[in-house]
Subunit: 136 residues, 2 copies
């Protein structure tokens, strides 16, 4: 079962290459951190703040391409966690079909916040993420 | 008339936020520099070197989304230069139509190198770029 999540925090560490975002359950209290890259963190942060750029950034291009090719983003799903790496999917409606495109969670979240669609995490991934963050 | 160009150089300046790429005419000697961001420069550089990453980076996601939605990238075109800013387009074939998606040249070039399609620059843009680089 996918669990509806929201972006709770973005922790920008200007001295390091690894940034942290925290996802929290919308209808519950469970939350977990995820390490992402600095470019992706900056892109998510800018979108959360509603800052726009004069020209489309790369995540805007992803959204624009989907739009121009007749797709509509339904939601994004963090669907797996393998050897400490999270896997995600953009889930796109097109011509009555659901098209799923593999991506990194950071790209998925940047896209989700840009278009305002929900972020889901598979229950099994959420449980495993909670176990891993307990171990830290 | 669009002029067929190739990526001639990437000049990475690790101390600055502005990186430079040089495009050169394939059937001629004209070339001009363009300032791009560090993330985009690193992405282009990695692609030129044929380095792969375990998970899709954002430019790979652009390519993957086009593929999953039934599009085929024909080429990219740097079509305008306004107030010192270059404008570009991804030109995508889909269902017998040509779909053009506005983007930054750095994204266009990263995508072109990923899929191996030509990079074009409008003749008028090339001339203006040459005038501007003469002025530096």
């Amino acid at each position: 079962m996918p669990v509806h999540m929201e972006l709770r925090r973005i922790i920008i560490n200007e001295l390091g290459d690894q940034q942290i975002i925290v996802l929290k359950e919308v209808e519950g209290e469970r939350s977990f951190p995820m390490v992402i890259g600095p470019y992706e963190a900056a892109s998510i942060d800018r979108r959360v703040r509603g800052l726009t750029t004069p020209r489309p950034m790369t995540h805007d291009l992803v959204v624009s391409v989907i739009d121009h090719l007749g797709g509509e983003i339904q939601d994004v799903l963090i669907n797996d966690l393998i050897d400490g790496t999270y896997y995600a999917r953009l889930r796109i409606h097109k011509d009555g079909e659901l098209v799923e495109v593999d991506c990194r969670p950071s790209d998925a979240i940047a896209v989700a916040i840009t278009v305002g669609v929900p972020i889901y995490v598979n229950e099994s991934v959420l449980r495993e993420a909670l176990e891993e963050s307990d171990e830290i």
